[in-house]
């Protein structure tokens, strides 16, 4: 079963009348820069690049230490970063950045364009969510959790004699992969057209509770979903005002909408 949620929002014509009377009294007219020359500032042209390579060692595993960093397992880690770009006199430029290669928190991005004409960007980012590495569960399965063979139901854990032999260790957490693409086109100094697309994909598990009347059990629920966002806008800039028309869509899609689990207690309901 698939569950989808859609939400569309439209922002129409945000008009700002920032006339001179509305500006703070402290502000004055912009200085006349026609005779100014940049003598001390150097503008990098051509190709530049840099790279880093490092290594580390963790003497113990820790989900909390690895939460959002990817450094959750003990052992040796090799980490690489790189960045660079090219800028030309004609106004074209292209830059890239690679971060935390070798870790689960790795990211990469590329940006480029021509000054005053257009710009674009591509990005990828993994966000590792490490919730627990000390958990144990009796359940097995993904979105249909079953009790182990020979399970002894009881009103509380004290009577569940198979509990000790049925527990198995589980790591709890999920990865969020984030993709992005954007572009902006400038038509003169009045019109701007923009398009921004982002996609998040998550996969893994997170804890949740399931109740059976007056008793409850904790288990793992699978996460397998994605969210797409699209933002498009067109803008006209006047001397003391602007108008902008925007469109935004967010689409959520999950492949883990259904969820069932056995009742480890001796209540009337065997499954939820």
């Amino acid at each position: 079963m698939e569950q989808r949620s859609h939400k569309l929002s439209i922002a129409v014509a945000t008009v700002l009348l920032a006339a001179s009377s509305a500006t703070p009294a402290e502000e004055t007219a912009a200085p006349d820069t026609s005779a100014w020359a940049c003598k001390k500032c150097t503008f990098a042209q051509g190709y530049t690049s840099e790279a880093e390579l490092g290594a580390g060692w963790l003497d113990d595993s820790s989900a909390k230490f690895g939460d959002y960093t990817g450094l959750d397992e003990d052992g040796v880690y090799v980490v690489a970063n790189a960045a660079g770009g090219v800028a030309l006199d004609s106004g074209y430029h292209l830059d890239y950045e690679l971060l935390d290669l070798g870790l689960d928190s790795r990211a990469a991005s590329v940006e480029g364009g021509k000054q005053g004409a257009y710009e674009f960007g591509l990005s990828y980012d993994r966000v590792p969510r490490r919730i627990s590495d000390t958990g144990e569960t009796i359940f097995s399965g993904g979105d249909d959790l079953s009790l182990p063979g020979g399970w002894v139901r009881a009103g509380s854990t004290a009577g569940m004699t198979a509990l000790g032999t049925s527990l198995r260790p589980v790591d709890v957490g999920y990865d969020r992969d984030r993709y992005g693409a954007n572009g902006r086109f400038f038509l003169g100094d009045k019109w701007t057209f923009g398009l921004d697309y982002k996609r998040d994909e998550r996969s893994g598990t997170r804890p949740r509770y399931g109740s059976f009347g007056s008793v409850s059990t904790e288990m793992l629920r699978p996460i397998d979903d994605s969210t797409d966002r699209i933002n498009a806008d067109v803008r006209y800039q006047g001397k003391h005002w602007f108008a902008q028309l925007g469109y935004f869509a967010s689409i959520y899609d999950t492949k883990a909408a259904g969820f069932q689990f056995d009742n480890p207690f001796n209540a009337a309901v065997a499954r939820r």
């Binding site: 939400k7 402290e26 820069t33 109740s211």
Partner: protein, 215 residues
Amino acid sequence: MIKFGRDSDTPVGVQNSMCLGCHEKTAVANWHMGPHDVNSVSCAACHDSHKAKDAVLTRATQPDVCYTCHVAERSQFQKVYAHPVRQGKLACSDCHAPHGTVAHKQLVRATVNDTCYECHAEKRGPMLWEHQPVTEDCSTCHAPHGSSNPGMVKQRGPLLCQSCHSQQGHPSLGYGPSGLPGNAAPATALALGNCMNCHSQVHGSNHPSGSSLTR
């Protein structure tokens, strides 16, 4: 001569007029609608135009620039449960638009919830059974800049739930040492410890029998 920066004697308006001469037409058209302009924050107080990589435009280093003024948020993000700003996976500008917006708290989207749904769209619904504060304002229960409680909630359960829900008709009793396990007669609700142990679907349920948000 115009001097730029946080400690400059040049009036902020004069400093900013240099930058706004070009940038007001695009990225900062809402500047005059924002509290940074109202509070006379100069562009150069945050931006360094002489560096190839402006710190405030880099996700990992941006928060330290913001923390220069927003010191309370610096401490909040050190809490054990917080968005991954400290780890460099999220920047202030992922939620806030520092150059001004028409939204409350300079959020990037029109409302608090729409901003949260950028990453947490699974909470958006619509659900068959809604939990009213969820659809109203995520920050009713959550502290987005960090909390000492799991899930970044403002209080631990059941105290958080009891800030709205009374005890009438349900054993949502207040925490007390006499009711904890190990005492003569521990209260069932206290032994469970948290309303969300049973009402796990506090963000809403699509189950046909999920009106009490237990499944």
